[in-house]
Symmetry: C2
Subunit: 213 residues, 2 copies
């Protein structure tokens, strides 16, 4: 099954597989079976095979998947071979933490610009990046930066997204806990940390809770 609509859930899992492949590449093997990868990343082996099958023949029956070839393939599908630069808006506690976060690297992604409205912050360096005035967000287009992370207060989120969209940004990771609207050409993923914590108690049965003391 060569050409097919790719389920959104599959796209969501691709970075997991990529991370898993990177991790298992250190072992010296050059091939990995769907079962081994499954154990490593915590997804069923048939799910993995199905996911990969959407993109064509990555594996060899009886042998498994070539780690290098597969990793390169996934990177290409995710466009990580072309898109490498991201900007950050909002250098508060969370924003600063993200600037120093080493996890983006394995995907080839790099935060290369940071903006804030606070004049006290503008001009200072955080994790090797000079903070620029938020008014200069419009320079992102000529700098060919098409990804942005929004870590501003909730009340400033929509305005920030509007500015980013006007500056030609095409993908936004939003940490502000609110709905933001953007033109169709801009993909927004909202990651609401408190929301994730808030749905956790649901899974704790009330009865067990009492005996917990």
């Amino acid at each position: 099954m060569r050409y097919h609509k790719i389920p959104d859930e599959t796209v969501r899992r691709l970075p997991i597989y990529l991370r898993g492949l990177m991790g298992s590449a250190g072992q010296g093997l050059d091939h990995i079976s769907s079962q081994s990868l499954a154990d490593f990343v915590g997804v069923n082996s048939w799910q993995i095979r199905k996911d990969f099958s959407y993109f064509g023949d990555f594996g060899t029956p009886g042998v498994g998947y070539n780690i290098d070839k597969l990793a390169k393939g996934i990177k290409k599908i995710l466009r990580l071979d072309v898109i490498r630069k991201a900007a950050l808006v909002g250098v508060g506690d969370l924003g600063s933490a993200l600037l120093g976060y080493p996890g983006f690297k394995i995907y080839g992604l790099d935060i290369v610009a940071a903006f804030d409205v606070d004049p006290d912050k503008v001009g200072s360096m955080v994790s090797g990046i000079e903070i620029e005035d938020a008014a200069r967000i419009d320079t992102l287009r000529q700098r060919e930066i098409s990804l942005a992370i929004v870590a501003v207060p909730r009340t400033a989120a929509q305005l920030t997204v509007d500015k980013l969209a006007a500056a030609g940004v095409r993908g936004i990771l939003n940490f502000a806990p609110c709905k933001v609207s953007a033109p169709k050409r801009v993909k927004v993923i909202t990651l609401d940390i408190a929301m994730e914590l808030a749905r956790l108690p649901y899974y704790i049965p009330r009865i067990e809770q009492m005996s917990e003391l």
Copy 2:
């Protein structure tokens, strides 16, 4: 339809509704229609009605939903009426940011304890919380803290989760970019920030990318 299996996706949306209800409570109205709430939070009105219908009759036909009653109902379903305390493990950049993060409050959640392995950090105060030695995680049981946030390096994540599970913690929000195993009684939600950013480029069409300048 009074008693029914509640879809996981519905549970995931409940905190969004709760946030929306809080936000619209300031307007002075005491009722809200599924349509108004839909506009506010960015979910279809029929989806909202279906979600609420799983729990019983929250609304009044022709009038809408009583904001206060509905908010209380959702809180109860999510167990947010009983579970209020969370612990943080790993006071690095991200952990510190989370300690100062104001967003948990609207759900009634509070980070009341923080742990780290670094002796230099132990004993110091961050956002009004005294950092304790990670060896003291086992005190969580008698302190009746059943939620935890894991913000430690990837290599320490599994050990941390093991310690938390042994300490009676029942829900874990994990920021470490790796699979972690836990006993069935412990619900783990992994939030991999870099992964979310990494799937964003997929949605940027290659052709448009070129014309971007």
